[in-house]
Point group: D2
Chain length 90, copies 4
């Protein structure tokens, strides 16, 4: 689905998200205060939203906007993108 | 920017969002309870997110994926889309 | 539901949200580009989230945490708060 | 910070979030399509928001609304709650 380089980048990013979720777990295990736990959750949520943005943007660049695409492939990828944007945002 | 038909649809949609924000205002003026006010705010927020999704999807269909586009116009529209997705989601 | 001062403040805030939704409508009517429309929507969404935060915080201060509350009233207001937080965030 | 029972429940919940983030990682490694990856991300985001709601609600119940609290402790916990709601939502 993604170029090798973009795939590596996305996987590095999702691993950072996992690290942030593990930080939330530690904060809960160590009985940190509400504010500190929510701050850790907020960071993880921000990272997961940024990951979603990158997945969508790679799809745009590689499968919808790239100049070399066959017409049918471009239309199909655009249909998937529209559906996915509606599900994620709308 | 949009086809005439899509423009009409988006404007009808943003007017519904305004109606929902006015409902929040009425709930505050009438001193409704917290739960009722937040429910009205939640509805308005859902409608505004759905509006954003439609604006992005029209841009995809009309300016990034349409078959008749010149290569330069498509690339430019895709660059704008990527930037906008990052700003709104990421 | 709210103190007079907080009520005024919340109503001023919801009117600013309405102004921001009207700015989105103008951007659509004037056929501004996707990025500019989404930026206006993003600002309106931020303002509506901030309004929700203030409504919740007023409820906490006036109905859940205030020292003078009867035990039953406090428990009832806390139950409403918990329900509302789950609906809005969870 | 939390009662033992609530702590266990929150930790079980954050572990489910981690499982969902791992599902996103697998979807990326296996090169699933954009829609499928975003659906997995959306599920993880929903779970992380629900976790935040539970952390806030436990704080309300245990530290702001509980009948047995000293006045100073209640005010302090309410101040932390207000700050945290503004940071997370507003």
């Amino acid at each position: 689905m993604h170029t090798v380089r973009n795939k590596k980048r996305l996987i590095a990013r999702v691993r950072r998200v996992r690290g942030q979720v593990e930080a939330v777990e530690r904060a809960l295990v160590e009985e940190r205060g509400c504010e500190e736990v929510i701050r850790a959750i907020s960071a993880a949520r921000g990272a997961i939203n940024a990951l979603a943005a990158e997945v969508l943007c790679d799809h745009v660049t590689e499968h919808v906007a790239a100049p070399r695409l066959a017409k049918g492939a471009r239309v199909e990828a655009a249909t998937e993108l529209v559906l996915t944007i509606r599900q994620f945002i709308g």
